[in-house]
Symmetry: C2
Subunit: 211 residues, 2 copies
């Protein structure tokens, strides 16, 4: 008999309520990202956790509750590195540094958590009301910061004058679409490293924006 308290062992022991809840959420994130809300059954989630279905309902009242908790948590923690790593550039005028950091962030976000984009797309297509919240609270906010930076740099004469919102979307699209083609559509891509991708696209964009 082991008197061991509880290191995070993956045995089939009983878990404390909070630990079981965490395990359920982690498993459900994986499955919802793979197959969406409608495509994932509570039976599957329970089986993948190694427990029976009623255990899920001790932590979440409904399947939708579990899904909403996941989307909510993912969309908040997913945007956090953006806010953190981009902030220092916002007040400066290091266009190249800003764009390079942003481009790497976008590619890293896809590479580090390949399920996040699928989760977000599924929730948007399946009509989860949380998607609209994510857009308003995070995507729109970030885009407006980026647009604000570009607008100021245009007034300073560092960048050509144009619609800053469109300019911001142009850059994000260049990088974001590349990552999506690769991950969602499985398009074969050029045999280049992520940093080469960022370097090339920042090169095009910055030259296109400079006076």
């Amino acid at each position: 008999m082991a008197t061991t308290p509880n290191p995070a062992s993956h045995e089939k022991h009983r878990l404390a309520s909070a630990d079981r809840k965490t395990a359920i959420v982690e498993t459900a994130i994986r499955l919802f990202a793979e197959k969406g809300f409608r495509g994932t059954t509570t039976r599957e989630i329970a089986a993948a956790c190694g427990v029976s279905e009623p255990v899920l309902y001790q932590h979440f009242a409904t399947k939708r509750d579990l899904y909403n908790a996941i989307i909510d948590a993912q969309s908040q923690q997913g945007m956090e590195p953006f806010e953190r790593k981009i902030e220092p550039y916002l007040a400066g005028n290091d266009d190249f540094g800003f764009l390079t950091a942003l481009g790497e962030l976008i590619l890293d976000w896809h590479a580090q958590d390949p399920g996040a984009m699928r989760l977000l797309l599924f929730s948007a297509l399946e009509g989860s009301e949380l998607t609209q919240m994510f857009v308003e609270r995070h995507a729109d906010v970030f885009l407006s910061k980026f647009s604000g930076y570009l607008g100021r740099r245009m007034e300073e004469g560092g960048l050509r004058r144009m619609n800053p919102g469109l300019a911001a979307r142009a850059f994000i699209g260049m990088i974001g679409h590349y990552a999506m083609d690769r991950q969602i559509f499985g398009m074969r891509v050029e045999d280049v490293s992520d940093s080469e991708v960022v370097e090339t696209m920042v090169g095009i964009y910055l030259r296109g924006m400079q006076v």
Copy 2:
């Protein structure tokens, strides 16, 4: 053999087999685009057509068969205007004309058939094997033509030398991501016309690519 070439009357009369099949497909396209394969029931499709479920199974052996027929048809006819309107530019050197036409095509594609992108995204996320076929037969082929054009223009000295595949993806991403943000995520966009969007983005891209 019908001696009466009935015009498409929307009455509750009986329809000839081919006409009924067309009606089913059109209805199913709308529903699958709205809610995906898993989210759409055969009962819904039948009801929206004004017929009973067994009628569907006289034209398609399974729900998956109906879906596959739709994805197949949509992905073929969806790419046709691209091939047609872009072809004339491929052998020339009118970079501005090419990019402007391509940008307008992408935005028009989204605007004219808002369901097409949803259908394609759903099929990619839900793992339809036809998505991979679409990518290989159409997306990859088109991208390689575009890359080929850019590569030739680089050799001619009209554009800066860089990875042509990345350069092609950069432009498509600028426009495509903008359209997706608007349509899939419902992001509020700047109060500008589509032609202003194309003009701005072609402006950034072309200046970024030229020597």
